[in-house]
Symmetry: C2
DNA sequence: ACCTGAACACCGTTCAAGT
DNA sequence: ACCTGAACACCGTTCAAGT
């Protein structure tokens, strides 16, 4: 009845864009390539989305939700130290499985509107919970940031081929995770309220 | 005498490109923008460089060398723990000072030829030296990777605005650095030769 | 109501022609 | 020997015209 029924859907567009991202990185997600995948011409995409930037942002949010689910899936709730370890491994595994998606999440500049902030807060909630049980509520945030920074830093350098020094990369990751979990289990983290300067021996910008 | 003396130089091109990178990220480093800065038309740039990709790669190498120098400048050689701390702060400070340059270094895909590998090895050499004195030669590489991953991960998340949970970000960084340095000073790192699986409680992909 | 071709302003890159 | 305008194949995006 309607003069021209939709020949594609928002969802098909997102799936096509995600596939292109996985295959060739964000640069490969062109409007023409996406349009070709869903069987349409590039201008038609603008009936479904506002701009290429909005599409790329949607891919960020999609990936963040997926990472959060992957992390959440391995938390058992019994031993918080074991959970932190498992979440660390799950995070790195996701990065290795979807390197271009991973790079796109952490490589995009903060310019755009950021509902991603709320999304990423939800994504790290399980980790925050385990850290709470591990080091107490006062130090939970600092502990979660310590683990998050390490794991993301490791994954990021790994994907950037930044470990040019050779050696067993899997072992290095495991070693780092053990060091962190041990330190947290021992309650060794500096108090979140008074991390101070450690005045002796070369401070922040000395 | 010569029919047409050079109207720009390789160095002026690199400086213009670096300025554009700082101001607007890698996307802003267009051949036309660079050409305009050095007072020339875009096609003329190809007398000085092979492609835009080569220019972007040169910017990566330039930045890596600069990070290495910034790290090297704060190492004193007396107390290795203090040196590791100082280098961590210097690294984060550099990232905050040049966020777009930093993102460009760690965001670029490994595809291109990588003399950057040798360069980055040189850049972390002083950190490796301090770790050697701190935990011994067997564990030095693992320790350096632990510190590098944490510091890069923290800086990266900070620039990506990934710390949406509020709180004192400076304190969180200091807290993490203290935790790591304390763990290394105590010799708490798992042995690099036998980091094993810690079989109990949720291994790598459980 | 959705899709399309044509158009516009940009890209990176090549190349024959200028000096 | 270097620089240039014109050209080519691409971008993202807009819009009047089709159905």
């Amino acid at each position: 009845m309607s003069p021209a029924p939709a020949r594609t859907t928002d969802d098909a567009i997102l799936v096509a864009a995600r596939d292109l991202l996985d295959e060739g990185g964000a640069d490969a997600v062109t409007m023409q390539a996406v349009a070709a995948r869903v069987g349409v011409r590039a201008p038609s995409l603008y009936k479904h989305l506002a701009s290429r930037g909005a599409l790329l942002q949607a891919l960020v949010e999609d990936a963040i939700a997926e990472i959060g689910a992957a992390i959440d899936a391995v938390a058992r709730g019994a031993d918080p130290g074991a959970d932190v370890r498992a979440m660390a491994y799950a995070f790195r595994a996701w990065a290795r499985r979807s390197p271009n998606r991973y790079r796109h999440v952490f490589g995009s500049r903060p310019g755009a509107a950021r509902p991603a902030a709320g999304l990423s807060a939800a994504a790290v909630a399980p980790l925050l919970g385990s850290c709470d049980r591990l080091v107490g509520p006062d130090r939970a945030l600092a502990a979660a940031r310590l683990v998050t920074a390490y794991v993301h830093g490791f994954a990021s350098m790994e994907l950037a081929d930044g470990f040019g020094l050779g050696g067993d990369v899997d072992a290095a990751f495991a070693s780092g995770v053990e060091t962190l979990v041990s330190a947290l289990e021992r309650g060794d983290a500096v108090d979140a309220e008074e991390p101070a300067a450690r005045s002796s021996g070369g401070g922040p910008d000395a």
